[in-house]
């Protein structure tokens, strides 16, 4: 019984080993695939509806065509990111993971990096797909802004990819904190889709809390119209991005500290 080290691989950093292990984990079960299909159906389906139902003289903006990707697709990917954590807690596999990699910070960071990269890439593909679908479903005049030759399309793609990456990191953090899929899914779907719109639309204080809602800021950054009224924001679009990033980072740091302190 001898263990052979492949010299080439052995020289690499533990981080690369951790990334490789996460890659194998994600690619050897089916549920990520189903989540992606769900995200694609939601994102592209809404794009098709936007395209076919758009009318009037004004052309359909890329932001409107991508609203399904931003509002439904990204949260599904966020849930998928959370499941990379909760799935391990459910089966007890997390103990195998922590026994193999006692550096728990490395484990959580690796999961976040993999989830962020994957979500960003997939969201970018979906956004471009949404442009094509909405363009095909609408008449040529209305779909004029959706051409891939338009710089606006690519700015939006970049913005949504960035938003998806941050949302994925938040998903991993919430999954690590709550450990149960049901709780994580509830938080990650209710937060952007229900709680924030309700808070933002509250009569008196809506306009005061509105600018400080994390997902509200993410949507401002991506320039996507969702159920929020328009506020006078205390910062510009870049400020909104930074605000969302700071909230995500804070939750992620708390999650990492908790995971390190907790018994596995």
């Amino acid at each position: 019984m001898t263990v052979q080290r492949t010299p080439r691989v052995a020289a690499l950093l533990p981080a690369v080993a951790a990334l490789n292990a996460e890659r194998i984990k994600l690619s050897t079960i089916r549920s990520p695939l189903w989540s992606c299909i769900a995200a694609a159906l939601l994102g592209l389906g809404v794009a098709a509806l936007q395209g076919s139902s758009a009318y009037g003289a004004a052309s359909l903006s890329p932001e409107r065509a991508a609203v399904g990707v931003a509002v439904f697709g990204v949260p599904v990917l966020m849930v998928l990111s959370a499941m990379t954590m909760t799935g391990e807690y459910r089966s007890g596999m997390i103990r195998t993971t922590f026994a193999a990699m006692p550096n728990r910070t490395l484990v959580v960071v690796t999961k976040a990096v993999v989830a962020a990269l994957f979500s960003a890439l997939f969201t970018a593909v979906l956004t471009v797909g949404a442009m094509l679908v909405a363009g095909m479903a609408s008449d040529p005049l209305i779909g004029a802004q959706l051409s891939l030759a338009e710089p606006g399309v690519w700015q939006l793609t970049g913005a949504l990819a960035l938003y998806a990456a941050l949302a994925a990191v938040l998903g991993v953090a919430v999954g690590a904190l709550l450990r149960h899929a049901a709780g994580a899914v509830a938080v990650l779907l209710l937060w952007p889709l229900v709680v924030e719109p309700i808070l933002g639309n509250l009569p008196d204080i809506g306009s005061e809390v509105g600018p400080f809602l994390p997902f509200g800021n993410a949507f401002v950054f991506a320039d996507v119209q969702w159920l929020y009224p328009s506020y006078s924001m205390p910062w510009d679009r870049l400020g909104s991005l930074l605000y969302f990033a700071v909230v995500v980072s804070a939750v992620f740091v708390v999650a990492t500290v908790v995971v390190n302190r907790r018994d596995a």
């Binding site: 080993a17 079960i29 026994a99």
Partner: protein, 307 residues
């Protein structure tokens, strides 16, 4: 070698807290199979989890060759562990499960096929972990423990759910691993299971160390070889035995004497010389199981209501 020094784990705070592991100090040597014995709830699994850096000790330390588990660079190459056989994603194949574990410690994928072969799971390597029987899951867990060819191995109740053939296989594997000079710690709540496998025993009850000894000493030191004597002249015989410097104890109901440290012949001849009638003269050989039960009796956490 595994060294535990004052290892303590308290769950909860205040009056409702439980001392799952209580000031455990012992060392587990390489080259032999060490049985880690205790009733259910005695703290065996918690101890193993602390050795593996999964649970944080409340106080004390657990080290492997002088290092805490969490300081090991590629821990699977030093320590292999089977904690819970069902610790795999149910929808991932057995081989893919081992592949990701191997990847974390940069273990070549050829080793995955090697360990699958060692545990005899090659034919079902593409089956999903969730569809494996408990016995096969145990084998998969053992395969994962062997991946890094570690010099220290921990197995928590490894024969649970195995058929007799599987039990024999695990037993042989443990002995082979120890014979190769590795440190092998195997937990069990059944002593009989360990009697044939282990060379040394670490016995705990309610988190406390009860014994750390060889199997032979464990049996010898726990009431083996007492002789039971019944006689109408029990008091006279008792006096004679005490006079000869032999330790005796009356049985609770007063009908018999329990004599320690004297061969049955000595007692018989002593009685004959003094014209004492004997109704019974018999050796009480405590079985390993009795010795164990006697020692852990006070330390059983969950017992059925006393009749």
């Amino acid at each position: 070698m595994i060294e535990l020094a004052g290892l303590t784990k308290v769950f909860g705070h205040g009056p409702g807290s439980t001392r799952a592991v209580d000031d455990l100090t012992c060392s587990i040597e390489p080259g032999v199979v060490t049985g880690f014995l205790g009733p259910n709830g005695a703290g065996k699994t918690t101890t193993m989890r602390m050795i593996l850096g999964l649970d944080h000790p409340t106080s004390g330390t657990a080290t492997i060759d002088g290092k805490a588990y969490r300081q090991l660079a590629d821990p699977l190459r030093v320590v292999g562990a089977l904690l819970d056989a069902k610790q795999a994603h149910p929808n991932r194949s057995a081989r893919d499960h081992l592949r990701w574990i191997a990847a974390t410690n940069r273990i070549a994928v050829t080793r995955v096929d090697e360990v699958l072969d060692i545990v005899g799971l090659t034919s079902v390597e593409d089956k999903k972990a969730g569809t494996l029987s408990l016995g096969m899951s145990q084998r998969l867990g053992i395969a994962a423990a062997l991946l890094g060819n570690p010099r220290v191995l921990l197995f928590d109740e490894p024969v649970n759910g195995l058929d007799p053939e599987g039990i024999r296989w695990v037993r042989t594997l443990m002995r082979t691993l120890a014979a190769e000079g590795r440190t092998v710690l195997v937990s069990s709540h059944l002593l009989a299971e360990m009697a044939n496998t282990a060379d040394r025993l670490v016995v705990i009850g309610r988190g406390k160390l009860i014994a750390s000894t060889t199997v032979a000493e464990f049996v010898a030191g726990s009431g083996t070889g007492t002789v039971r004597v019944r006689s109408p002249q029990l008091d006279t015989l008792g006096g004679l035995l005490s006079g000869a410097g032999i330790e005796t104890a009356a049985e609770p109901d007063g009908s018999a004497l329990s004599v320690r440290g004297a061969a049955i012949e000595v007692i018989g001849e002593l009685a004959a010389r003094n014209g004492i009638t004997l109704h019974e003269l018999s050796t009480q050989r405590a079985s390993l199981e009795e010795a164990y039960l006697k020692l852990t009796d006070d330390a059983v956490e969950y017992r059925t209501a006393k009749q």
